[in-house]
């Protein structure tokens, strides 16, 4: 699949809540190729910081030629990105990785924390393909601030879990699923490893397909350096060992194929 490096013009950036930023970049070649669950590599302008920062696509607007990234300030790079303003430029490379394979089955979209953003494009894509609202169940887990929640509501019913109980169910996304007695045939998920591990167990118990989007430290972002592996349940065809590359074989995997 084609990949492009673009000097993206920043269209806008807003702060959604403390530490969470919402950045829209003009990057028409990437936007034209990208799908939900894929990510881009974003580069720092500082010569001392060499490695790209992988950030998932939160929305893709092919017509406008823009991509939208929602991210948390976690360190040097994301802090630098958070200072970008309309008119600035930022180097991006993508689209990278293997995103979500969408099925027409009744879906649960499950996001946790900073894993929520890539699921917005996923929900939109399901909706665009004609899936009815009631088959798009959206379960979002947060510490407290429920960023992006309102935008999800246009695509399906949103169920919230918060750690502090300030919105929705107090607890995890699993608590929210149980409390709302939700069921589905397929899960699309992204979030912290413990959440994904719980969802893998849950989906195996229920006998349903579960897609998880994984995170790992990356160098090349395109499958060449073998920095970003996760363990696979079976021997991987490319690596000939039980390792898959999150950046190329993933970030989205069928939960059954990997060890979380």
């Amino acid at each position: 699949m084609a990949k492009f490096q673009e000097m993206g013009e920043v269209i806008s950036q807003v702060c959604l809540c403390p530490g969470i930023f919402d950045l829209t970049i003009k990057a028409p070649q990437i936007a034209a190729e990208a799908g939900c669950g894929q990510f881009v590599a974003v580069y720092s302008k500082d010569a001392a910081h060499l490695l790209p920062r992988p950030i998932s696509l939160c929305r893709i607007n092919r017509q406008a030629g823009t991509i939208r990234l929602v991210y948390r300030v976690a360190g040097y790079g994301t802090d630098e990105f958070s200072r970008l303003a309309a008119g600035d430029s930022v180097r991006v490379f993508g689209p990278l990785g293997t995103g979500f394979f969408l099925s027409d089955k009744k879906a649960m979209i499950i996001g946790g924390g900073i894993g929520v953003p890539p699921l917005l494009e996923t929900a939109a894509a399901l909706s665009r393909r004609g899936m009815r609202r009631e088959n798009i169940q959206i379960v979002l887990g947060y510490r407290n601030e429920c960023f992006l929640k309102d935008e999800f509501e246009q695509f399906g019913t949103v169920y919230i879990a918060t750690e502090d109980g300030s919105t929705g169910v107090k607890g995890t996304v699993i608590d929210a699923i149980n409390a709302n007695r939700l069921s589905a045939d397929v899960i699309y998920s992204c979030g912290p490893a413990p959440m994904l591990r719980a969802l893998k167990a849950y989906s195996e118990e229920k006998g349903i397909t579960c897609y998880v989007s994984m995170e790992q430290r990356m160098a090349c972002g395109i499958g060449a350096c073998l920095a970003c592996v996760c363990n696979s349940t079976e021997k991987d065809g490319h690596s000939q060992v039980n390792n898959k590359r999150v950046c190329a074989d993933g970030p989205v995997f069928n939960a059954k194929d990997i060890v979380i």
Binding site: R217, C220, G223, A224, Q240, V241, N242, N243, A248
Partner: protein, 302 residues
């Protein structure tokens, strides 16, 4: 002005002096979508062993100032799949093939070298310097006698010219270069990564699962240039220089210091278009400076 950019490494002609560092470019497959491999003098592949290796646990990398640490642990699919898949892939392109070889023991190196004897590859690069895996060659690369022995052994079976890849983690790099020259090496490449460590002060743990990793990137370039210069003064072998090359200017430092060819590594991560740009930039420099033959520049600063 017609200029010559081709160089000769142990009888193999590279159309230009630029290749990539083993381990930073896979076998080129992932780069081919957006890079023209034929613009490179050679493609150097990720280290391959006699059987598949699983490598180290994650995190395998960490960023450091103008550099990075890696402890991939030489994960590789083994020589069989490599011969079936990677070599045929690379044969589609008009560029030379340098296969990087690793092993836990002399026997394992020799196995791979024998297996490659009838393969259409141009040069072998023997990694005796990877500092990540306990048995991954650290002993061979840090003792002149061991480097001599492995070179001798590999040369017995190699059908292609042999490049010995040197580790910078030594007191005297010229001693190592002389040892492999004496043992019959056809060329040397340097430098491999410098052993480093990063600590996550908030989680109070090592940044890499392996604790230590290999430092690469622009941070180490001055060390690499120094070692290339020292080796160029000490032995007659052609040198492939590497360590922190990000642009043509960086590559030219190595060439002027005595490298016949250069390799782009970590910079491929910072910008996947780097290697091809380096090759172009060298040509531009030659035109600008009125240099007709790249060979005039090799070792020109003394």
């Amino acid at each position: 002005m017609s200029i010559n950019t081709s160089v000769n490494i142990a009888g193999v002609t590279l159309k230009n002096p630029v290749t990539v560092c083993s381990g930073t470019f896979g076998s080129g497959m992932e780069f081919v979508e957006f890079t023209d491999l034929e613009k490179l003098g050679a493609v150097t592949t990720k280290g391959v062993a006699s059987v598949p290796w699983a490598g180290n646990p994650v995190p395998r990398i960490a960023e450091t100032p103008s550099g990075m640490l890696n402890a991939i642990g030489l994960q590789n699919p083994g020589i069989d799949v490599f011969c079936e898949r990677d070599i045929p892939f690379l044969k589609n392109f008009d560029t030379k093939i340098i296969v990087n070889v690793c092993g836990h023991s002399t026997e394992e190196y020799v196995d791979v070298v024998k297996r490659l004897a009838d393969q259409p590859v141009d040069l072998l690069e023997i990694n005796i310097s990877c500092p990540n895996v306990k048995e991954g060659g650290i002993a061979f690369g840090q003792k002149p006698e061991a480097a001599y022995d492995i070179t001798k052994e590999v040369k017995k079976y190699a059908k292609q010219p042999v490049i010995m890849k040197l580790s910078p983690n030594v007191t005297d790099i010229t001693e190592m270069a002389r040892a492999v020259e004496d043992a019959g090496a056809d060329a040397v490449s340097l430098i491999n990564t410098i052993t480093g460590m990063k600590i996550d002060i908030n989680r109070r743990t090592f940044a890499l699962a392996n604790k230590t990793g290999g430092l690469s990137g622009p941070a180490i370039r001055p060390v690499a240039v120094r070692m290339v210069y020292q080796v160029a003064q000490a032995v007659k072998l052609p040198i492939i220089g590497m360590g922190g090359i990000t642009c043509a200017e960086d590559a030219l430092e190595f060439i002027l210091a005595g490298a016949t060819a250069v390799a782009v590594g970590t910079a491929n991560f910072a910008d996947p278009f780097t290697a091809v740009r380096v090759a172009q930039g060298i040509e531009e420099y030659m035109i600008r400076q009125g240099v007709k033959d790249i060979n005039e520049l090799i070792g020109a600063v003394r």
